[in-house]
Each structure stands twice: as C-alpha cells, then as structure tokens.
C-alpha cells in the first residue's frame, strides 16, 4: 500500500495588494536518508523528496532543493507579494520520480 503523501498548504484567505504574506507547506514523507539499516541488517535505500517548486499564475516564485538532512514530513515556508489574485501551484518531486501536487487560490481584498 502506497503511503499517502497528501500535502497541506496554508495560504491567507485574503491578501491586500502589495502585502507580503507567508505561505506555509507541509508534506507527509519519511525522507528516508539512505543511512539507516533495518532490524535485519539490510541498508534502507534513500528515498526523499528532493525538490519543491511553487508557482503563482504559472510563474515560478520559489524553489527549494532538499537533501537527506531535511527532516521527515518536510516543512517549507516562503513569502509572496502580489498585486493580483491568482492560483498558487505547488509541486514536490520524489527521488523515484513521483510528483505530488497541490494548489491554493489567493484572493485580493479590495
């Protein structure tokens, strides 16, 4: 059974034009470092999320490369400043090629 890697993102409900807001993300994932041995003495292979990309209205606004020293259930926050409403798209990329995605709407208050 595949683990559910369902991301959680926290985006403010409303944003004033030009306001700088924090975007918070979290994705459940074991971030297996590749440095452990299981109880049988077998090395546990590395399997982490190595890339996080955030786009706003299709344009990349923030990106992170993660190595095995990033904690399990990786948390990542960054900031966004905008004068338009739009869609934030998030993508996390696993070592095994799987892409986990999420999105959130950002609404401008008048």
């Amino acid at each position: 059974m595949a683990d559910a890697h369902i991301p959680k993102v926290r985006v403010p409900k409303e944003v004033k034009p030009g306001e700088i807001v924090e975007i918070r993300t979290l994705i459940p994932h074991e971030m297996e470092t590749g440095r452990r041995i299981d109880s049988q003495g077998t090395p546990v292979p590395r399997k982490i999320i190595n890339s996080f990309v955030a786009r706003f209205n299709g344009r990349e606004v923030f990106r992170a490369d993660w190595h095995p020293s990033v904690s399990a259930n990786p948390y990542q926050s960054f900031f966004l400043k905008t004068t338009v409403s739009g869609i934030l798209d998030f993508m996390w990329k696993d070592d095994d090629g799987t892409e986990y995605i999420s999105s959130a709407q950002l609404k401008l208050s008048r």
Partner: protein
C-alpha cells in the same frame, strides 16, 4: 569505530522512542562530517570569492532537544527588486554525514527573502548559510547549535 557506532545506535533508538517499528542502527561505515568537508564544498562552489557576514540572519535554537527535527529560519535583508534581490541561499551542516542540507531559490515576487524549514542534525555543530545576491555578492552566516540527541542527517 565500532564502539562509537554502537553508542550512536543506542542514542538513535532512544530518540525514536519505543514506538519505532524498526530497530535502527547506523551503517558500520557511517562517518560524521566535519568542518573540513564543508569548507571544501564551499571552496568548490565559490573558490576565493569573499563572503560578507552581513544581511543574512540564520536562526536556530541554541539547543536542539531532538536532532531529527530542528527548526531553521533564514532571512536576508534585500529590497527584492528586479535589480537587487536574493537569488539563492544554501544551507550546510558541518557535522552531518554530507554537509549540504538544502538550497532555496528566491525571486522578486517573494517580496521578502525569508524561508523556514526543519532539518536533521547528527550532533552538536555549526550550521552555515550562504546567500547569493543578484549582484554576485556573497553573504554568510554561521550558527552554533548543541544537539542533545542526534538525528541521522
């Protein structure tokens, strides 16, 4: 070397508590990183380019109770305009098996060059953050942190 690995294995098992389904041990050839390997990595990336110890703030707790989950906050003073902004911040852990922890890539759309994450630290050590500006200038910050129970990094 073996005795050291065994001791570390016990600490690692303690850190995860009795709920861990797997009995954990570290590979016999587990080698903790050192300052030299981080400095070598910085040299490889940046050569002799000067790094100013200004504008970049690296926040870590002075003591980490759990080396598996250490909160890190990085903030760089920058107008974040098209002409003058932070391009990237690279995070290193001098005492981890591999010094590179993460890299963060910013754009003027961020408004503020700040980011938070959580990292694994294998032992008490110095964490280093290097910032690359759009101008090509480099800034560096170092933070020392005591780690009471190491998290395999």
């Amino acid at each position: 070397m073996t005795a050291e690995s065994d001791a570390f294995s016990r600490r690692e098992a303690l850190a995860l508590g009795g709920s861990a389904a797997l009995a954990l041990a570290l590979a016999p050839d587990f080698a903790l990183g050192d300052v030299a390997s981080t400095e070598a990595e910085l040299k490889r990336l940046y050569g002799e380019r000067p790094m100013e110890e200004s504008r970049i703030k690296l926040d870590l707790p002075p003591i980490a109770e759990n080396g598996l989950v250490v909160p890190v906050n990085i903030e760089v003073e920058s107008p974040m305009t098209d002409e003058d902004h932070v391009k990237a911040v690279h995070l290193f852990a001098e005492g981890n098996p591999a010094p590179r922890v993460a890299s963060f890539y910013f754009t003027p759309a961020n408004g503020k060059a700040a980011t938070s994450t959580r990292i694994r630290l294998a032992k008490t050590q110095t964490v280093v953050a290097v910032c690359e500006m759009s101008s090509g200038a480099l800034h560096v910050a170092r933070a020392e942190i005591k780690v009471t129970i190491g998290g395999c990094g």
